[in-house]
């Protein structure tokens, strides 16, 4: 008992537990919703959410495929968050990353690593502008980055419509509304699979999940072990004090947004430099960037935590897709939203845990007192 109490007394453990608790409660709310919408199928649907991801190697490969960009957009949001910035523009940076990556791959026929680099530059540029506006003119980064989301969407659509070589019909396919399959146009630009595709019998599978995890570890090291990370966090927690200490806060704000953009851009590249996936010209902002926000929040912006929360969000999204036709797949978004709300009140949950523990301890002491053995407190 005491060992458990000591474990919970540690701050990190408490936040992990709070996040897990909010996941459980959120899933329970999801179950209630399923009962509300279509009761006879509710239990079956609930188990689909819980086990689809692991039900087959193919489904698991899709969980991993989707988890990689989620982790990266989550890192993008989380990294900026540590510097006190709310990067709601991950979606636009992701879009620009996808575009730069695809242009490098298809238009210029470059190998995958160059395409990935190009994507990071594209995302970085899209993070640079809100960063500059914030640092130089103190314009709120939320507003500029939302606008940049829309600018990127229509800019990319406009450019793609005028780049015939980029589109699928140039390469012999029927549809002119999407980019060419990278597998057809330039198989050198596909993210390497290292045989993982054979292992899981899925052409979605490649090394991108390992790239994402590696990047998360690098982010963790930057934030916690380097002077640069120290400066970034200092600016995030208290900009006045960091200026007082001689830290160049403006430079750090810009750099933080540039890095956040590059992370989201990398996410865009690994989403689309993949065999079965094509970029479809739509008039809707890509949700991947916004889904990075819950990923980051659920992990309290901790890069290592983001690996797990990205995997989790991806997992229940794949489960949610399997809910059709009995339920609409959007129900999974409601569940995710519920979990995020709950993790936002995770502070309260943490407090609750503390209180329960304290009460237990007190009861134990009292019990000891009554037995006349309460000497060593």
């Amino acid at each position: 008992m005491n060992r458990i109490q000591e474990l919970f007394a540690r701050r990190g453990v408490k936040s992990i537990f709070a996040s897990l608790l909010s996941i459980v409660i959120g899933l329970f709310i999801g179950l209630l919703l399923l009962f509300g919408f279509n009761a006879p199928y509710a239990v079956g649907g609930f188990f689909k959410i819980l086990n689809t991801g692991f039900s087959s190697a193919y489904n698991f490969s899709k969980v991993l495929y989707q988890a990689a960009p989620l982790i990266l957009t989550g890192l993008s949001v989380g990294f900026a968050f540590k510097t006190g910035l709310f990067n709601i523009g991950a979606s636009g940076q992701y879009t620009m990353g996808a575009f730069f990556g695809l242009v490098a791959a298809i238009q210029f026929q470059l190998p995958w690593y160059v395409a990935v680099l190009a994507a990071m530059i594209g995302g970085a540029v899209w993070g640079l502008f809100p960063g500059l506006f914030k640092a130089l003119f103190n314009v709120n980064e939320v507003i500029t980055s939302i606008m940049f989301n829309w600018i990127s969407l229509f800019l990319v659509n406009l450019l793609l419509a005028n780049m015939p070589m980029m589109l699928a019909n140039y390469w012999g396919a029927a549809n002119p509304d999407r980019t060419a399959s990278v597998a057809t146009a330039n198989s050198n630009a596909l993210i390497p699979t290292l045989g993982l595709d054979k292992l899981l019998h899925s052409d979605y599978m490649n090394i991108s999940i390992f790239l994402a995890i590696g990047v998360a570890v690098i982010c963790y090291i930057i934030l916690n072990k380097t002077t640069f990370g120290y400066e970034l966090k200092a600016c995030g927690y208290n900009r006045n004090a960091s200026v007082y200490a001689g830290i160049n806060a403006k430079r750090n704000i810009v750099l933080s947004m540039v890095i956040a953009g590059a992370l989201a851009g990398l996410g865009g590249a690994i989403s689309y430099l993949n065999g079965p996936v094509q970029y479809v010209i739509k008039k809707e902002i890509l949700m991947m960037g916004f889904n990075g926000i819950p990923v980051a929040l659920l992990a309290a912006a901790n890069p290592i935590g983001i690996i797990f929360s990205g995997f989790f969000i991806s997992y229940i999204q794949i489960g949610g897709n399997a809910l059709q036709p009995e339920f609409s797949s959007e129900i999974i978004n409601i569940i995710i939203a519920a979990i995020i709300y709950l993790s936002a009140v995770s502070l309260l949950i943490k407090e609750l845990i503390t209180r329960i523990l304290r009460k237990k301890k007190k009861e134990e002491l009292e019990a000891l007192d009554q037995n006349g053995e309460g000497v060593a407190k």
Binding site: K225, A241, Y244, I247
Partner: protein, 515 residues
């Protein structure tokens, strides 16, 4: 009818690891000004939170007018006519004075505000007690002193009989403090009961009838102020004798360390807050800049330390021109800065203590190699400073800075700034909000810097501090230096005349400018 209006009897309140209140009894008579004295962390705030129902005591009970009561939340306290002026005001900045006063108890007809009625009550109250306020002024536009009057009016508007003032004088000018004291006496004469929380002994002696002293969560005793002395109170509060006068020996005045010539700076507002200021600070002396708040001292410091731009003029530190230097370069050239607002500038409260202790040095080779912070070196350095400067905290180097007491937070800043071994130490109100023990400590540190031949530039609003610590005094009025004084040959009253602009030494500016 009981002798006491409020009785808090045998109150004990425990938090994990600390007994914040240990068997404390506080009894307040009707119509008296009762002071509650104690160092930071002695348990004053906890006791007040218990009275306001924010915390439930583990043991003990509260009686109002002899009747036992249970106070579960602030509304219960309000219903018992207990009101409080918090140290940090609880005002809605963008509301008018009137709107703030009626907030929560708005007189209304079916939800429609009856502002006229409210205004009449507020105006009559403010006239009755001489608490002049403009009911239609927006709170963010009025002075701190006036904001405090708004808080007092809030209590009066609610017909509170028990008025609690939590360190009310910390933010006021000497004149405003006198006014407040008179108002408090007036309330008491009318039969209201005042609880005055403070650690300023002179104020307690001046205004309070009785005083209860807390130390480390325990009640040390309650004394009549007529029967005691400042020395005795401070001994009760700190637990040992405290020296009030600062001991200084003669030192050699060294070379000029800081030289400021014809400096003009504007600060945050557009107007010229600092106008054509020239002065020198030399090694081995403490130069003090005195003045009433808002006469350009803060802007002068911001400009000197690099937090704001200098519009005109020239600043040299040890012969180097630093007029346009970055903050980091000023620091490298030997400037240390104990800032006015330790929470806004001095510390990153979400960092641990050790991270704050290296805030200006983390980039030095001692603490990093190739961009990676040497955790071991930081820990070792922090432990050294904690020991050397007696910084007390719950968990040593890894303590959350936010959880530390104000005095120890300030000690951490002082340790960080002095340990840089600066040629010039700029200390801005370094003892603000601290208790006598910590003040004594910080004054000693300043004097030690001077004795080591370093230059110290002290800005203070407390005239006692100015007179005690400094070797030379400059008075600022409306952005200009209006006089230079030797603390041994001048008086507080003389300084006061210059501070309010009634007198000025014409010769001063020209003399320094030529030098």
């Amino acid at each position: 009818m009981s002798e006491y209006i409020i009785e808090m009897i045998d109150i004990t309140k425990e938090f994990p690891g600390v007994k914040a209140n240990d068997d404390i009894t506080l009894q307040i008579q009707k119509g008296e000004v009762h002071a509650l004295l104690g160092e930071n962390g002695a348990g004053k705030s906890t006791l007040m939170s218990v009275l306001f129902g924010l915390y439930q005591p583990d043991q003990g009970h509260i009686k109002i007018d002899g009747q036992p009561v249970e106070i579960r939340n602030p509304n219960d306290a309000n219903a018992l006519h207990i009101g409080m002026v918090h140290q940090h005001f609880k005002l809605v900045e963008c509301f008018t004075v009137l709107e703030n006063i009626i907030l929560g108890v708005e007189p209304n007809d079916l939800g429609f505000l009856k502002k006229k009625e409210a205004r009449e009550k507020v105006v009559s109250l403010s006239e009755k007690y001489g608490l002049s306020v403009d009911p239609d002024a927006v709170v963010s536009d009025i002075t701190v002193g006036m904001q405090q009057r708004v808080e007092i009016l809030k209590m009066l508007y609610r017909d509170n009989d028990i008025l609690i003032f939590d360190e009310p004088t910390a933010v006021l000018t000497p004149q405003e403090i006198n006014e407040l004291m008179e108002i408090m006496r007036q309330f008491a004469d009318e039969g209201k009961s005042i609880l005055f929380i403070s650690h300023k002994l002179n104020e307690i002696m001046a205004v309070a009838d009785r005083c209860t002293v807390l130390r480390r969560g325990k009640c040390i005793g309650t004394v009549n102020t007529d029967d005691t002395t400042v020395e005795e109170l401070s001994r009760m509060m700190v637990g040992r004798d405290v020296s009030f006068s600062v001991e200084k020996s003669e030192t050699e005045i060294g070379d000029t360390v800081l030289s400021v010539r014809n400096m003009t700076a504007s600060g945050a507002s557009k107007k010229e807050a600092v106008r054509d200021v020239s002065f020198d600070v030399r090694g081995g002396e403490i130069l003090c800049i005195a003045g009433i708040e808002g006469n350009g001292q803060s802007e002068l410091i911001y400009a000197l330390t690099g937090l704001d731009k200098i519009n005109q003029g020239k600043v040299e530190l040890c012969g180097q021109d630093i007029t346009r230097a970055t903050i980091r370069n000023r620091s490298k050239s030997g400037m240390s800065h104990i800032p006015e607002d330790r929470h806004k500038y001095g510390l990153i409260l979400d960092f641990s203590l050790e991270q704050n202790l290296v805030l200006e040095r983390y980039w030095q080779p001692e603490f990093q190699s190739r961009g990676f912070i040497k955790d071991g070196a930081v820990r070792q350095y922090a432990e050294g400073l904690i020991e050397k400067y007696d910084i007390r905290s719950g968990q040593g180097p890894v303590t959350d800075t936010r959880s530390m007491s104000g005095g120890n937070q300030q000690k951490a800043i002082v340790a960080r700034e002095i340990d840089k071994n600066p040629e010039l130490l700029v200390a801005v109100q370094p003892t603000r909000g601290l208790d006598v023990g910590a003040i004594e400590y910080i004054h000693k540190q300043l004097v030690a810097q001077r004795d080591a031949g370093k230059a110290v530039l002290l800005m203070s609003l407390e005239l006692d501090e100015v007179m005690d610590v400094s070797d030379r005094i400059l008075v600022m009025y409306e952005g200009e230096i209006v006089g230079e004084f030797d603390p041994d040959t001048t008086t507080v009253d003389e300084l006061g005349l210059y501070m309010v602009g009634a007198k000025r030494q014409q010769a001063y500016q020209q003399k320094e400018a030529k030098a």
